[in-house]
Amino acid sequence: MSRIILETRGLTKHYGGVHALEDANFVLHEGEHVAVVGDNGAGKSTFVRQVTAVEQRTAGEVIFDGQPVHFAGPLEARQAGIETVFQTLALADDLDVPSNLFLGRELFRFRFGPFSWLDKKTMRDRTLEALKTTAVKIPNVDNPIRNMSGGQRQCVSIARTAAFASKLVIMDEPTAALGVQETAQVENIIRGLKARGIPMILISHNLRQVFDLVDRIVVFRRGRIVASLRKEETDGNDIVSYITGVKGGADTYA
């Protein structure tokens, strides 16, 4: 088996008395795409928030790229190579597409502290390139994204993730608010990441999408991982049984 890119051991998160995540043991291999599924409140988003350090875990270990890590915040996680698309859009509405793609990692003509001169042309060119590889259709990248549809904005957000993806991409319900065409666009971006060999964790409610895109499916139920199944070994009914708790006692835990 190929190298392990992300591993969690006994990852646990308690909000006061609420045990949102309990003893999660999770492994992601290089180049692998894994879906995280489960009911609302099953602990999927909580799991991602611990890995990306949006919240600090109660207990357990996160091993990323061979090293145990303790990120202080999402920024450190990003600098280490974990790109995340959050459910809430992290875009600045009044900026154009290149500015959003390069927000926080601008390119410069010359550097002079906060008054460093931006290299707008290169950023724009690289943006068009990035959009091309992701096949995202944006009428005009020089407009502020305020004037764009929800789907286009989500595509910009995902294109940003895809463009800078280095070691691991995490997407939390990337198509939840999108129409049919826009969903297809996002799925194409995900296939592009797969082709580039970039590992991904995809949180989704859409089982059709999950079976379409990923190699392995991890099922969360009541804060615990109850199943980890290769796509070929399972089907929709099987997954639903795990999600709803029909299957998934201690005996079937893989």
């Binding site: 999402p74 920024l75 990003r78 600098q79 959050f86 859009l89 992290a90 875009l91 600045a92 509405d93 009044d94 900026l95 500015s99 927000l103 926080g104 990692r105 601008e106 410069f108 906060p114 008054f115 460093s116 001169w117 931006l118 707008k120 068009l128 959009l131 091309k132 096949a135 995202v136 259709k137 944006i138 009428p139 005009n140 020089d142 407009n143 502020p144 305020r146 004037n147 065409q181 297809a184 666009q185 194409n188």
Partner: protein, 370 residues
């Protein structure tokens, strides 16, 4: 596979689809107002903008242009800083009071020892503070403004209190400093070099044929600062961060921008620009009084708002504010030119500020729908 509708066809640059810069609307309004006043003047046989005297060889009414640019130059410099603060998503109510406090302090270091052979009757300090090189009061003034701005910024960034409250506190306190400084007495009689800062014309009446450069040093400095900060806001990381924070502070934070430090920096720069205004104002008047700069903050905010700077943050530009200042000035001069009472001026000024915001909101809504 990619469906054809998601192909590369949509990536072409289409200038027709580009949103028109809102500054053009402001510029249109400015032209419209100028035309209205020109017509009103023509009805009475005069002209608002153009030279009507046969014995003067010029296209424009030079005197009026000089007054128009001079009367907004000093508040315009404040507005340049206020614009940045508003784009950042904040507000600065303290500018007027900081002008007052800075004016008093600066003037105390710009005094001359002998007035007509007698000791300076308004002396604040002893001989050591008399006849200092002009750079000393300038640096002290800039430091005062920056200190006040930094306190504003630090309060907003690190205590997370609303900018309205933080700068309201500074507004009251700085006015207190201005009154306390010399127990309410004016500070007067600056050195000759200090007095010439705002009263000269470094361009020496620059003339192109029948058009000459209007205005004195405050106007020149206003224009230079406006161009400088327009470039900074448009082309540098500083500007990009202002727009990003004003647009979506959480996203800016998540993208790794040090939002708190940037806020402190922007308020500090706004304070520095306020100090420039205070220096020019005291130099122009050759005196400093504790009541100087009252209501300047509102004029500056009004210029920005008329110029299309959104109080919600993230939108607007220095150019817009300069156009807003021009509209502001044209209205004042326009009413004077048709001999309308000053009381009406204020009433109309208020209506125009409200009208500009209503128009802006309306424009945003129609665009969001379209």
């Amino acid at each position: 596979m990619a469906q054809p509708t998601h192909g590369l066809g949509g990536l072409k640059y289409d200038p027709a689809k580009r949103t028109r810069a809102p500054e053009w609307n402001v510029f249109g309004a400015l032209v419209l107002i100028v035309v209205i006043f020109e017509v009103l003047n023509r009805v009475n046989g005069g002209s608002f903008l153009f030279n009507m005297r046969d014995n003067v060889d010029a296209i424009f009414n030079q005197q009026r242009l000089d007054i128009m640019i001079l009367q907004v130059a000093i508040t315009g410099i404040i507005a340049i800083g206020v614009t940045q603060v508003i784009i950042l998503g904040g507000i600065d109510l303290s500018s007027g009071s900081v002008v007052g406090a800075t004016a008093m302090i600066v003037m105390s270091f710009a005094q001359t020892a002998l007035v007509n052979g007698n000791p300076n009757p308004k002396a604040i300090f002893g001989d050591w503070a008399m006849d200092l090189p002009v750079i000393v009061p300038i640096l002290i003034g800039l430091a005062c403004g920056m200190a006040a701005g930094f306190v504003n910024g630090a309060l907003v960034a690190y205590t997370r209190i609303p900018p309205f409250i933080a700068t309201l506190g500074m507004m009251v306190s700085a006015r207190g400093v201005a009154r306390w400084w010399s127990n309410g007495q004016p500070v007067s009689f600056p050195t000759e070099s200090y007095g010439s800062l705002a009263n000269g014309d470094i361009l020496g009446g620059l003339t192109f044929g029948l058009i000459s450069w209007p205005g004195q040093n405050p106007a020149v400095i206003f224009v230079i600062l406006a161009v400088l900060f327009q470039l900074i806001m448009l082309k540098t990381l500083y500007g990009k961060r202002c727009y990003a924070i004003g647009s979506n502070e959480a996203a800016a934070r998540m993208s790794g921008i040090n939002v708190d430090r940037h806020k402190a920096l922007v308020y500090t720069i706004a304070g520095m620009l306020t100090a420039v205004a205070a220096i020019l104002l005291t130099s122009k008047n050759l005196t400093a009084q504790a009541g100087m700069g009252v209501m300047y903050e509102l004029d500056a905010i009004a210029m920005a708002v008329i110029g299309g700077v959104s109080l919600a943050g993230g939108r607007g530009s220095i150019i817009g504010t300069v156009l807003g200042a021009a509209i502001f000035s044209v209205i004042i001069s326009g009413f004077t030119s048709i001999r309308l009472d000053a009381y009406y001026q204020e009433m109309v000024k208020g209506a125009i500020i409200v009208g500009a915001v209503v128009l802006d909101q309306w424009r945003q809504r129609t665009r969001a729908r379209g």
